[in-house]
Symmetry: C2
Subunit: 247 residues, 2 copies
């Protein structure tokens, strides 16, 4: 009997090799997921089709369905395999700011290593074990400060929102420069996209123009920019904590 309820992939264990009758599996979820991740890293997640993954493994597309119910579930597995690469200590150190800087750096590293990760993460509500582990670390960093759990969730959300959009921005910028082959200085006057140039030259949006033309963080390295924004978020969190703590 095949139960075909559309339940989470994390509730569907891989067929383990019990010593019963039947042919033994020639592949594994982990192997399939790793292959999918490799393809997505190299050519984008849209290249990781079932046929392509199977081809890379030297088999037919339908074989994968012995291991993964649907393609979407494979995305969840990919996300969690990437999250597994996030290296964190077992528990928080007591220095919440230091812990979050550590977490932020790890997240950025993994997010850039797998440029599809953040996009998938925001498009799918998934809660794999490794994502839970990372999330728990973030929540834990705020424990013991006298904060309400809802406030903690909110602060972690603030941090995550920043991390995701900063990493997304960095990836977008990387793809842009890779496609055009221009460095950031020449970009704004030589390329900048014909449309953005037109908008800028129209002068219809003065503040937008300033944000495009007068940016003083343009000469910073991406990592410095990331760190700068992170410091602002952490400043904001630090400023918020006293007012949240019920005295």
């Amino acid at each position: 009997m095949d139960d075909d309820e559309p339940t989470s992939i994390w509730m569907r264990p891989e067929r383990q090799e019990r010593s019963g009758p039947g042919r033994r599996p020639g592949y594994s979820r982990e192997q399939i997921t790793r292959t999918a991740v490799q393809i997505a890293d190299a050519e984008g997640v849209e290249a990781a089709t079932m046929r392509r993954i199977a081809g890379e493994l030297g088999t037919g597309a339908m074989s994968l369905y012995r291991y993964v119910p649907r393609r979407d579930d494979l995305f969840d597995l990919m996300i969690d395999q990437a999250m597994a690469e996030v290296e964190l200590p077992d528990g928080p150190s007591g220095d919440w700011r230091g812990d979050l800087i550590l977490l932020a750096g790890e997240t950025r590293t993994i997010g850039l290593r797998h440029p599809w990760l953040i996009a998938l993460l925001t498009s799918r509500p998934t809660l794999g074990p490794h994502l839970l582990r990372v999330h728990e670390f973030a929540l834990d960093a705020f424990d013991g400060l006298g904060l309400d759990i809802d406030d903690i969730t909110g602060l972690v959300g603030m941090l995550n929102d920043y991390l995701h959009s900063a990493i997304r921005r960095e990836i977008g910028w990387l793809e842009e420069t890779r496609r055009t082959g221009l460095d950031s200085e020449r970009w704004k006057r030589d390329y900048m996209g014909p449309y953005v140039r037109q908008v800028v030259e129209s002068g219809a949006f003065p503040m937008f123009n300033r944000s495009v033309l007068d940016s003083r963080t343009a000469h910073l390295t991406p990592e410095e920019r990331f760190r700068h924004g992170l410091d602002r978020i952490l400043d904001a969190i630090a400023a918020l904590i006293p007012s949240l703590r019920p005295r």
Copy 2:
């Protein structure tokens, strides 16, 4: 000569009805976009296929390509048509906090009216005229406070990040309750998703458990929760402003 460069949709004007020879257009970008928006509102963006939109208009799929170069461009048009519904005064009032609360409320209204909007917005870097108008309003609210343009961009980014994830959360929650038909009180003990229940019962992630089980904002209406989170973000921004202002 057809120029087929993949440039932004905003650079490709719709064929206006010049008084030359040739059959006159029977449809329009706006009409097509409106139809797509209606379908997406009612059945999700994945239902708004080219064939379906065309069918709704009583024509064939390929007719749409006389008005829109690619389906992706239609997404940009949909986004901007939704953003056009955001009602804002011409300029900021001088009370930045009030202006941002106004903007946040409008964004939430439109985001909930078009549940696909936020997802599309974060998956596509688009800059249609109405999105620019709204963005300009946000930037403008921070003008005159002695802030660097980069800092202003950062603060607007913080606010937008919050708005997007709060609205996304609310939409997810709406879909969840619509699918299960359960109210929030019964949800956590009757449904909560078999997987989340398993995670909670495993006790492996104590802080996560608290965030699921001990939430005190659960009894608030979605709007109150939104407003509460918004106030926190604005508090954070207010706390940040003095330190950003070069004295």
